[in-house]
């Protein structure tokens, strides 16, 4: 009995110490929340289209590497549309840019609608639970149907800036990416580091929101939806010119993205 009481006291003391580590963890999470909030208030999910020259102001004048590369970018592009740097920027940039390009191309839009409509069944056949994914698919189809009515661009932009609509589209594009990687796992497993299976990679790096995208995600989504993507890479590398890659290689790109380390925006000719 004595021993029990002693245990109880020592447990009591321990708990008061541990309340401090709880407060500490909570402080970290609160700070992360504040940072997210700050990013959110200063960056819309998808911005208005801006003149490409706005990029010059984002770097110091004496930062010649970037200033030269921005000049180089100007040879091919005139405008930029920015996305919020929240880890979902690739999917949001892709989704918006593609639907925008389909607003005045009803033939392509119908082809895309058919691919998108069928995509849910492919995911269900692969083992995704229908009732888990159908809300995301429905939101995606609703946006495609909105585009069929040829709305003003502002309406599409409004939908992409409605947090829940926009995030549901991101989720669905993540699922399509995951589904394609898993269907083609015999090919993609060569590119996955750390001894993980393609399925594990998808559960850790593709399906969770805010996980950033790399080449492998871009290739998968471009092929899953049959929408070739060109990415201009702008980083600190020497040379003064911007390099680009087309996914899949050798195809005629439909959308153009600018990559700067950790982030994707949309480019316009």
């Amino acid at each position: 009995k004595m021993a029990d009481e002693q245990q109880e006291t020592s447990q009591g003391e321990m708990e008061s110490e541990c309340v401090n580590c709880l407060a500490y963890d909570e402080a970290i999470m609160a700070q992360q929340d504040r940072i997210q909030q700050e990013i959110a208030t200063s960056n819309p999910l998808v911005s208005d289209r801006q003149d490409l020259s706005v990029l010059h102001g984002e770097y110091a004048e004496e930062d010649t590497i970037y200033q030269l590369k921005i000049k180089d970018l100007h040879k091919k592009y005139s405008y930029i549309r920015k996305t919020r740097p929240d880890g979902n920027c690739f999917y949001r940039a892709f989704g918006f840019s593609h639907l925008e390009s389909l607003l005045d191309d009803s033939k392509e839009l119908q082809k895309f609608k058919a691919v998108a409509a069928k995509s849910k069944l492919d995911l269900v056949n692969q083992g995704f639970t229908e009732f888990t994914i159908e809300d995301f698919h429905n939101t995606f189809m609703d946006l495609i149907e909105l585009c069929e009515k040829q709305p003003a661009l502002a309406e599409l932009l409004g939908s992409f800036n409605d947090q829940s609509v926009s995030d549901y589209v991101v989720v669905y594009l993540r699922l399509l990416t995951s589904g394609y990687l898993q269907r083609e796992h015999t090919f993609f497993h060569h590119f996955i580091e750390g001894g993980r299976s393609v399925k594990e990679f998808c559960q850790q790096e593709v399906e969770p929101m805010s996980k950033e995208s790399d080449h492998i995600h871009i290739i998968a989504l471009a092929q899953a939806l049959n929408v070739p993507i060109l990415v201009e890479y702008m980083d600190r590398g020497e040379g003064g010119t911007v390099n680009h890659h087309v996914f899949p290689e050798g195809s005629e790109p439909r959308i153009f993205l600018l990559y700067r380390p950790g982030h994707y925006d949309i480019l316009y000719k």
């Binding site: 245990q7 541990c18 709880l22 999470m29 995704f128 559960q203």
Partner: protein, 148 residues
């Protein structure tokens, strides 16, 4: 809802926040065997984009459970929200995860504490350095859970 290994949960709506009460059975062949532990799952308004939270409403002493009962495992965290610095290969919340998966992960956490990510530092320390004492405390908690 009765999940694969006998977890039972039911729903109740309080203060506009959907909450679900679950009873988790302590996994067999572990120090929590025989216990029946009540916990509340609270679903945020943007579920399933964000994960639910889980909190035991009984006494618990475990490396991955805060002293106030809140459960701290990677599947209940979005990638950006990571106070414990989980390894990058840890299972994360995603909108296609399920409640059943959470309950299974929590049961396996009871069976195999992760003493790297200590939500309860003292429990982590005891788990590492004085396993016998940890088992004794766990037994007390099991007995308490049954005399509800």
């Amino acid at each position: 809802l009765i999940a694969a290994d006998g977890q039972i949960s039911g729903n109740k709506n309080t203060n506009n926040l959907l909450e679900s009460v679950s009873f988790l059975r302590g996994p067999e062949d572990t120090c929590f065997e025989g216990g029946v532990f009540p916990a509340i799952l609270s679903f945020p308004s943007d579920y399933p984009l964000s994960p639910p939270k889980m909190k035991f409403t009984c006494d618990m002493f475990h490396p991955n459970i805060y002293p106030d009962g809140r459960v701290c495992i990677s599947i209940l965290h979005a990638p950006g929200d990571d106070p414990m610095g989980y390894e990058s290969s840890a299972e994360r919340w995603s909108p296609v995860q399920s409640v059943e998966k959470i309950l299974l992960s929590v049961v396996s956490m009871l069976a195999e504490p992760n003493d790297e990510s200590g939500a309860n530092v003292d429990a982590s320390k005891m788990w590492r350095e004085d396993r016998e004492q940890f088992y004794r405390l766990a037994k007390q908690i099991v007995r308490k859970s049954l005399s509800l």
